[in-house]
């Protein structure tokens, strides 16, 4: 995972796995991104393994950003992310379709 501070935004690049094995790392990275108080681009195209914990983390982060009026953008959500978000009825809430 990587968190890159750009001029206009922050890019958070996710690895292949966003599940219990990497959840703490992802949490730390997202907190870091959150603290920059800039629009955030979530590069989630490479995620191939995801669980409910991972999705809950994204949801919590997304809601907090929304609260703080920080813009969140998804870059090419992977198929697994879309599928699990749909199963858990979070697809619309996370605005993954946009």
């Amino acid at each position: 995972m990587d968190c890159i501070l750009e001029k206009d935004n922050v890019i958070v690049k996710f690895d292949k796995h966003l599940d219990m094995t990497s959840i703490q790392d992802a949490f730390i990275m997202l907190k870091k991104a959150f603290d920059y108080n800039k629009p955030i681009l979530l590069q989630v195209n490479e995620i191939t393994r995801l669980d409910t914990a991972g999705l809950q983390l994204l949801l919590s982060f997304y809601l907090a950003a929304h609260e703080k009026k920080i813009t969140i953008q998804w870059e090419a959500p992977s198929a697994i992310l879309v599928e699990i978000a749909k199963i858990l009825n979070l697809y619309k809430l996370l605005k993954l379709s946009l």
Binding site: I23, F34, L59, S60
Partner: protein, 814 residues
């Protein structure tokens, strides 16, 4: 921070092993009885659960095979596929294959994929074959027509569910496969992002499921989610009643939860630690009792009351902890139906097994130790006991042989009977064997009591041929020894043509035992009550010499006398037996008696290991700490009864030979700074690496050990730990530091060797100094120097022109 999923691996292995055990039990039921839908459901759930959990750990082969098996079982449930003998055998193979893989995972061994792939292929082929439901109505009832139903499901996973390997999205996915699922997410518990603990689950789901669904199907999916009562699930069948308030959902749990008894997994080392604390409690109470005896009773009413309460509490604590260690004996029994099934098939016999008393509880350690002996007795019963069906029929018996294993409690012991209705033991063959081996003469008769001794003779076998199952003559001696090691007993009754009954009599626990305290040559010893049958005071008129052996006539039996004083001391002088006592023991049905000076009282004792810090000592089970704080040896009566003087090995030599390549503290020898603690013994200064020194205390009392080198002065109680004490001077043949050992400092050291750490004490005259040196300053003893005990010295350091030997403590102990 990354979560190490491997920390849950053991739980996965344990749970999967338990589930496979359940699956095996259900498969055996299906085989023996008609196919029962509930059994199929249970088997299905096992495959499903293993599929999901193995996937979490990325065991792809396990997951793939379980997935195929699950699909096949699902089709069996749906009455699409049938389940015949062949398929049942393949399901048994699935159980075996999974077990092997789990075992390999546990032992960090590679998984053999071939067997799993072959099985997977078999089940895949089954799935591809046309539907065979037309032929499948004979023993599997078809389901009633399913109506369109609507269910509201409140799925509130518990907070720990992620850590427990549960996956809400998989649950929802599985529910969606049943019908049309509407999902409403409840995020009310989700904390603000910075406060989030990402490993906890805060989400809840309110679900609506419509379709041709049976309530049971939903329950099956949700059954996986229930792990404890913090998880709230409720199902409302809209057709059956009004919706329920989720707050009342707790009441629905019991209806749904397949297991009403709650259990937790606790590592046995934690329980052992608790047991130690409880043991200390018992010792403390015993010490207080002793102090109380010396007090003026008038002034100590409160003390007495307090002691009484302490006694009650300590016994309650001990009892409660013992119960934690106790598990039902079915833990051992559950493997036998499969074993009997396989062996009977292999032998071409028909055998029915009945298990009763499976709920009888025993200490886990004992259960683990009796599995092999029990397996051996069952194997023997099938191979040698139960006859072939044709022979049984000919002799008017039911062609199906019967083995019954029954367990129950009796007189503070657990008894296990293994009864078969086979041919019975062949007395003539046993007699012939006994004569050949010189155990019996031609004129001797053999009865049930004596059979066990012959059966337990190493190499005994009456089998005409060696089979894969038994007949090699290896086993009954091991069975007998294993049971003796845990203080158990084995007896046998047999009737020709009618069958055989073996009976195991076992202590409830190994940790605490009811014991008799005795005195021999002013030392107190402890004997488990289970080891002897009675105590008598010697009547000098009944003493006699037979073949040069001291014997005692008791109720027309001649009993060999074993003088404990001779066993424990090197003194061969035979004192008068007047006023002494005999403890009568049944040693392999041959009676003998241990002679002691005094019989004290009986009490429960906590048995502690001597081996942990020293070595196994013949004739000693362990040690216990008495009320005065001193250790006392717990005797291994069976070994003492069989101990011959000629067996006494040269322990001095054994220890010298076994002590190889043991360093002071290997980690410290790379030219680093070392701190050396020096001490004086008989005016000479010696040293040890200060890192191995645990503490320095004053010696109060040392309990001597039998049959150990003379420089091992005995054992002491170091705050509940039993450690050996070494007299270095005596080891180097320079004399003896002290006769009574009292009031001398004892330096307690930890000794490292390979993976073991042992603790021992060195008796010294006084502690001298500490030195901070470089490890390179430790000089080796020159090769040309003649010094018999060179291996005991790590090297020499020179301080103020004095050569100080640095001791290699490992050589004294390992």
């Amino acid at each position: 921070m990354t979560i190490n999923i491997k920390q849950f691996l053991q739980t996965f292995i344990d749970e999967s092993t338990e589930m496979l055990q359940e699956m095996e039990g259900e498969l055996l039921k299906i085989k023996a009885e008609k196919i029962d839908k509930e059994s199929i459901n249970k088997i299905f759930r096992v495959a499903h659960s293993i599929k999901s959990s193995s996937n979490i750990f990325n065991f792809k082969i396990m997951s793939a095979l379980s997935h195929t098996v699950e699909n096949y079982l699902d089709q069996v449930r749906e009455n699409i596929k049938k389940l015949n003998k062949e398929e049942i055998e393949y399901l048994f193979s699935y159980v075996d294959c999974m077990r092997t893989m789990l075992l390999n995972i546990e032992n960090n061994l590679p998984i053999n994929e071939d067997a799993a792939n072959k099985l997977n292929e078999f089940f895949r082929k089954l799935l591809k074959t046309p539907k065979d439901n037309d032929n499948f109505s004979n023993n599997y009832q078809s389901e009633k027509t399913i109506k369109e139903n609507s269910f509201k499901i409140l799925y509130y996973p518990n907070r720990q569910c992620f850590l427990q390997g549960q996956e809400p999205f998989r649950i929802l996915n599985a529910l969606a496969e049943l019908g049309h699922l509407t999902v409403e997410i409840d995020m009310s518990d989700l904390p603000l992002f910075p406060m989030l603990d990402p490993t906890q689950c805060y989400l809840k789901w309110n679900l609506r499921l419509n379709g041709n669904i049976e309530k049971k199907s939903i329950e099956e999916v949700l059954a996986w989610t229930l792990d404890d009562d913090r998880e709230i699930i409720s199902i409302i069948d809209d057709e059956q009643g009004s919706e329920e308030n989720p707050k009342n959902a707790d009441t629905k749990i019991s209806e749904f939860n397949p297991s009403s008894s709650k259990s937790i997994r606790v590592a046995t080392d934690k329980i052992d630690n608790l047991m130690n604390i409880a043991g200390e409690f018992v010792i403390l109470q015993s010490m207080l009792n002793q102090i109380n005896k010396a007090f003026d009773k008038k002034q100590t009413e409160n003390l007495i009351e307090t002691i009484d309460k302490l006694e009650q509490n300590s016994l309650r604590l001990q009892d409660a902890l013992l119960r934690v260690r106790m598990i039902p004996i079915e833990f051992a029994f559950t493997r036998f139906p499969r074993m009997v099934h396989d062996l009977a098939k292999q032998m071409g016999k028909e055998v029915e097994l009945t298990l009763t008393g499976e709920k009888t509880e025993l200490d886990r350690t004992i259960i683990e130790k009796i599995i092999d002996p029990l397996s051996h007795l069952i194997r023997n019963a099938i191979d040698h006991g139960i006859e072939m069906p044709a022979i049984r029929k000919k002799s008017g018996k039911n062609p199906v042989g019967h083995i019954k294993i029954n367990s129950y409690q009796e007189s503070g012991c657990v008894v296990i009977d293994i009864i078969d209705d086979g041919a019975g033991l062949n007395f003539e063959k046993i007699r012939q064997y006994a004569i050949q081996q010189g155990l019996k003469s031609e004129s001797d008769k053999i009865d049930n009591d004596e059979i066990i001794k012959i059966l337990s003779h190493p190499g005994f076998s009456t089998a005409d041929s060696v089979t894969e199952i038994s007949g090699r003559g290896v086993g009954m001696d091991v069975v007998y020894k294993n049971l003796s090691d845990i203080g158990g007993k084995l007896t046998v009754e047999t009737k020709s043509g009618e069958g055989t009954k073996f009976q195991m009599r076992l202590p409830l626990t190994l940790a605490i035992m009811e014991c008799q305290l005795i005195k021999v040559s002013n030392e107190t010893y402890v004997i488990p009550l289970i080891s002897f049958s009675e105590i008598i005071k010697i009547d000098m008129n009944e003493l006699l010499l037979l073949d040069g052996m001291e014997c005692y006539k008791l109720r027309d039996n001649y009993i060999k006398i074993i003088r404990l004083s001779k066993f424990f001391t090197k003194n061969s002088q035979k004192n008068s037996l007047k006023n002494k006592y005999l403890l009568i023991i049944n040693d392999e049905n041959k009676k003998s008696a241990l002679c002691c000076d005094e019989v004290l009282w009986q009490q429960q004792v906590v048995i502690k290991s001597i081996e942990k810090n020293y070595q196994k000592i013949n004739g000693i089970t362990g040690a216990t700490i008495l009320g005065d704080g001193n250790p006392a040896l717990v005797l291994d009566v069976q070994t003492i009864a069989n101990f011959k003087n000629s067996e006494k090995i040269d322990l001095e030599q054994k220890i010298n030979l076994s002590a190889q390549n043991i360093s002071l503290n290997p980690a410290k020898l790379d030219n680093k700074f070392l701190d050396i603690l020096s001490f004086l013994i008989a005016g000479r200064e010696y040293g040890v690496d200060i890192h191995v020194v645990k503490e320095i205390s004053i010696c109060s009392s040392i309990t001597p050990l039998p049959n150990v080198p003379s420089y091992v002065k005995g054992i002491i109680n170091l705050r509940g730990m039993i450690i050996p004490v070494i007299d270095i001077l005596e080891c180097f043949s320079l004399g003896e530091i002290t006769k009574d050992n009292k009031d001398h400092p004892i330096i307690t050291v930890n000794i490292y060797s390979d993976n073991h750490i042992k603790t021992a004490g060195i008796i010294v005259d006084s502690v001298a100094d500490t030195y901070h040196i470089l490890s390179s300053h430790i000089n080796k003893i020159p090769d040309d120097e003649e010094f018999e005990f060179k291996s005991y010295i790590q090297g020499l350091i020179t301080i103020n022109n004095k050569n100080i030997p640095i001791l290699n403590m490992g050589h004294f102990i390992f």
